[in-house]
């Protein structure tokens, strides 16, 4: 899904360098910052919401650093734990499943722009790893492949609870993928493109943010995204009170950590998609790219662009962090749905509402233009 055709016309070296920098940046953001830190954030937040003190026991010479050391101890524990494969399990598939879960969660970020386009020393930098024409469809495709990690894990564990968890994942993902695709059709109609960078650029005007143009689509999408993420209130595939831990019951050590990581990375990706589609991406309300560049004009044209770029990237990640926080807030607020409730919500409420939303959006676009 990569456009080779325009490669020869470009200067290859800066292009490749830019690509490497972007990939390393996103990879280190996800694996180095979010994957380890979200566990800590979640603990601290749940403690705050449930009026507890929270993770603060691990210490080095009495320094607890707000419980941050728990992240370290967790990592050591997960790395040194016995890697257990149950008897009668399919060893190959049992081994493969966590990788199938974690890789799509990592690569889905490729089409999300974390900044605009900047002219740096004559080189045009476009802050997105792959600016694909199919844009959002790519994320849907990758997400649908990611489902297999959980389904295969449930199958390969040779455990009835795991199998039930795997079956539930399959049913839930299938139901909500359809609805999720339809909830975003309104957004594509409004902006007239699937390309994430164009959607981001179209939101330079504060009142053109997706949340104002597609409020219904936004709420429907957030419900579907939560369901795809398999977290409370949609965590029936891993419901502790019914299925022990669902599809990853039989996983331990690093492989368990990979499922856990996949879930967190999915949350980061969902937040990033929410920001990119509905909350202006890297844009700051009422402050356009040009205004920022002019404000820092005293630094010279190139440095001004660099500062603008850094601010935009910072704004993007700040918005993403805010959304992660809100998603976690939902997790600690709502109780778990029952299986039939989840199915009913998906097929009988969200799907028809999404279809109505598309029809209304189409009618409004026809009237306005």
């Amino acid at each position: 899904m990569f456009d080779y055709t325009y490669l020869p016309e470009m200067n290859l070296i800066p292009y490749l360098a830019e690509m490497m920098v972007k990939i390393v940046f996103i990879f280190s953001m996800n694996m180095g910052v979010f994957a380890p830190l979200l566990g800590w954030v979640e603990r601290k937040q749940s403690a705050l919401m449930q009026d507890r003190i929270g993770a603060n026991r691990a210490d080095i010479f009495g320094f607890t650093v707000f419980g941050l050391l728990h992240t370290l101890t967790d990592a050591i524990k997960l790395l040194t734990k016995e890697d257990f494969i149950p008897r009668g399990a399919d060893r190959t598939l049992h081994y493969l499943a966590p990788f199938i879960a974690v890789v799509p969660a990592l690569v889905a970020f490729a089409v999300i722009p974390f900044g605009g386009q900047y002219e740096l020393w004559g080189h045009k930098a476009n802050l997105v790893i792959a600016d694909l024409d199919v844009g959002m469809l790519y994320i849907f495709a990758v997400a649908s492949v990611g489902t297999y990690g959980a389904v295969i894990a449930g199958w390969a564990s040779n455990n009835n609870w795991s199998l039930l968890g795997g079956i539930r994942v399959g049913a839930q993902m299938l139901s909500y993928e359809v609805a999720m695709g339809l909830t975003l059709v309104g957004i594509f109609m409004v902006y007239g493109t699937l390309r994430m960078t164009e959607i981001g650029a179209a939101q330079e005007n504060f009142f053109h943010w997706g949340i104002f143009l597609q409020p219904v689509g936004f709420f429907l999408f957030i419900a579907c995204a939560l369901a795809e993420n398999k977290r409370t209130p949609f965590d029936i595939p891993e419901a502790e009170s019914e299925l022990i831990a669902g599809y990853f019951t039989e996983y331990s050590g690093l492989k368990f950590a990979m499922f856990w990581m996949a879930e967190f990375l999915e949350m980061v990706t969902i937040s990033a998609v929410l920001v990119a589609l509905f909350f202006g991406g890297w844009q700051i309300p009422f402050v356009s790219h040009q205004m920022l560049a002019d404000f820092f004009g005293f630094l010279g044209p190139n440095l001004a662009q660099v500062v603008t770029m850094l601010i935009h990237v910072g704004v993007f990640w700040a918005k993403v962090c805010l959304w992660i926080f809100i998603l976690m807030l939902i997790r600690w607020t709502l109780p778990r749905f029952r299986y039939d409730q989840v199915m009913k919500l998906g097929w009988k409420i969200i799907l028809p509402l999404a279809l109505i939303n598309i029809a209304v959006t189409g009618a409004v676009i026809l009237l306005v233009r």
Binding site: F140, S144, Y148
Partner: protein, 165 residues
């Protein structure tokens, strides 16, 4: 680079297809079919048909195969002794491939130049806009007929299942 990727995708697509037919385990077969579909999506992407590639992943590799796996898991089909032996399957596979190869070879021999030559794709080929425009102008009727057909199948399935539930 392109050629290398073509061979890579092609090899794994064949590997998936052959493995799917040969495997004794229904789940393994389904997974290998997913490998095959994934590689086909890669080949489509290389042909600049990006939309088809994405849809192949979403619809076939994503939705249809999840459903297949779902049914296999629901019925809990474990390893089965096949009705036909592995040799028979292998022979059939070789036979069919050979037949296909010979038919192609004969056509190429009899009517040289009749096989379509590679053409430069049109501007914007395979993009969302191009595919959408074609679907809603030139191919509107087949598109609508297909959707009505699918709807009829869905309603039919519901009615058939409803009498039993």
């Amino acid at each position: 680079m392109q050629l290398l990727m073509f061979y890579g995708f092609g090899f794994f697509a064949l590997f998936g297809a052959i493995g799917m037919v040969m495997s004794r385990q229904p789940v393994m077969s389904a997974l290998l079919l997913i490998v095959n579909m994934f590689c086909l999506a890669g080949l489509y992407a290389q042909l600049d048909a990006h939309v088809i590639a994405a849809l192949q992943l979403i619809v076939y590799a994503g939705a249809v195969m999840v459903l297949v796996l779902f049914v296999i898991m629901l019925l809990n089909l474990r390893e089965k002794q096949g009705i036909v032996s592995k040799h028979q399957v292998a022979l059939q596979a070789v036979g069919i491939s050979a037949l296909g190869f010979f038919v192609t070879a004969i056509i190429a021999r009899l009517e040289p130049g009749k096989l379509p030559a590679a053409k430069e794709p049109a501007e914007g080929f395979g993009t969302m806009a191009a595919v959408g425009k074609l679907l809603f102008t030139d191919y509107l009727l087949p598109f609508e007929i297909a959707s009505v057909l699918l709807l009829a199948a869905m309603v039919g399935a519901v009615i058939l299942a409803k009498s039993k539930v």
